[in-house]
């Protein structure tokens, strides 16, 4: 009896093990198939995948927000501590800067008046109105494979695709996906980022190309361009994605004689971003405007 009992137990244990093995193998095939299906769908139905991604982002954003809080507290404490340590020197510097700014303010008032009068004389088309949305960074995505940020502002806050993402120092990227209350920003250092730029001092044009490293490369700079390291790089306004003259960073000559750009903002430590809608009508090269226009036509 006891022999029969133990053999039946052995049998049931073996059955469970073989069932588990079968399930493991079956689920492996199932999930590999599902992943492959998703990869194909990314190619054939990019809009559906993008929508799925923004919905997932909206669901996960509150969790990421909670996880980002301790980091934010540490960063705030670090900044506060630094400002306390350098309080005296900072105060002196600000005093000097303020004196200079008052001089500038007087000059600006006169220039502004003159500018207004000259524009009126020329019937100059004024720049479109700019709108701003400020947001906090809750995730810094991509690591070595891609470069992006997830921020706490979405459609409900007035964010739309294509808005320029800036910090106090300059341009850092643009909004590429917008959820209900979260959005994804593509940084200028991302491998797929291409921005028409120019050298502020000389007006030479080039393309700023991200390569997932902290310093994006400068491509298609004219051979006869007389530029050197330290020159300021700003947006050129071509393509209709960004307006001209948004500061990006400074030029650096590499060992191989090529140029890359040191971004004005520390792209690895962005805590807050300002999203700016320049209300650009967009050129033929602006993929975002084209997409929005196509969507509008469909409706």
């Amino acid at each position: 009896m006891s022999v029969r009992h133990s053999s039946s137990r052995r049998f049931s244990a073996a059955a469970v093990l073989s069932w588990r093995g079968f399930f493991q193998r079956f689920s492996f095939v199932l999930f590999v198939g599902l992943a492959a299906f998703l990869l194909i769908l990314t190619r054939t139905q990019p809009e559906a995948i993008s929508s799925l991604r923004t919905h997932t982002l909206d669901i996960v954003a509150p969790l990421l927000d909670v996880l980002a809080r301790p980091a934010l507290i540490i960063e705030d404490a670090r900044v506060s501590l630094r400002s306390i340590v350098s309080l005296r020197a900072e105060n002196k510097r600000l005093y000097e800067e303020n004196r200079h700014l008052i001089e500038w303010q007087n000059a600006v008032v006169t220039l502004e008046k003159e500018n207004r009068e000259l524009r009126a004389l020329l019937k100059f088309k004024t720049e479109p109105r700019q709108t701003y949305v400020s947001a906090r960074v809750i995730a810094d995505t991509g690591g070595a494979h891609a470069r992006g940020l997830i921020i706490t502002a979405g459609k409900s806050d007035g964010v739309r695709e294509g808005m320029a993402a800036m910090t106090g120092e300059g341009l850092i990227g643009r909004v590429i996906e917008v959820g209900a209350w979260s959005s994804r920003v593509w940084l200028i250092s991302d491998l797929n980022s291409r921005i028409p730029v120019m050298i502020a001092e000389t007006g030479d044009r080039a393309i700023l190309a991200g390569d997932n490293t902290p310093q994006p490369k400068l491509l298609f700079l004219a051979r006869d361009a007389s530029v050197s390291g330290g020159a300021r790089v700003v947006t050129s306004g071509h393509g209709g994605i960004f307006p001209p003259n948004l500061p990006i960073g400074v030029l650096r000559e590499t060992e191989h004689g090529t140029f890359d750009v040191i971004p004005a903002a520390d792209l690895g430590r962005v805590t807050y971003v300002r999203l700016v809608d320049f209300s650009l009508e967009g050129g033929a090269l602006n993929p975002i405007e084209n997409k929005l226009r196509a969507e509008g036509k469909k409706k």
Binding site: Q24, S27, F28, F31, A35, L72, T213, R269
Partner: protein, 170 residues
């Protein structure tokens, strides 16, 4: 009522490996206040996947590996399905070779992890290059790989303690 609490307790303990893996995947993209953290990140999600697939495959199904990979894809903005595919394949390989990966000294576990994470990272880099039709620089990927290997003991220690405290009687 007591049975209900016991079952809930058991369920929560059983869900710990899955919960920790998804949490690590979220932490991987978190806004860390560290210099260069935006450029290289340790693959925390993969560390969790490796540990639990090797030590508690009974509590860590391929579905969770797939979900963690998909979450990583969605958060990183990469092609959805790629990390999900690699995580599921890695889970299967680690599960089949768990006799080699688990049950030995910590150094052997670390060595096993290196054997798993190096091909995983390189395949991911190559696949992303193929899908984007653009070769991404390898240096940041290698720095990330080294960082992941160096930091492996830290999350691993948390998992070992979790297993000892919460999953030893399971």
């Amino acid at each position: 009522m007591e049975v209900f609490w016991q079952r809930l307790d058991l369920w929560l303990r059983s869900a710990l490996p899955s919960f920790l893996t998804l949490l690590m995947t979220l932490l991987e993209v978190g806004a860390w206040p560290l210099p260069y953290s935006g450029f290289v990140r340790p693959a925390l999600g993969f560390i969790a996947l490796f540990y639990w697939a090797a030590h508690r495959p009974d509590l860590f199904s391929p579905m969770i590996a797939f979900a963690a990979g998909l979450l990583s894809d969605f958060l990183n903005g990469g092609p959805p399905g790629l990390s999900a595919l690699l995580f599921t394949a890695a889970h299967q390989i680690i599960w089949r070779q768990r006799g080699f990966f688990a049950g030995h000294s910590f150094l052997m576990l670390w060595f096993g992890f290196i054997l798993a994470v190096v091909p995983f990272t390189l395949i991911q880099w190559a696949a992303l290059g193929l899908l984007n039709w653009q070769v991404a620089p390898l240096l940041p990927v290698l720095v990330q790989l080294v960082l992941t290997i160096v930091l492996f003991p830290l999350p691993c220690w948390v998992f070992i303690q979790t297993q000892r405290v919460a999953l030893s009687s399971n």
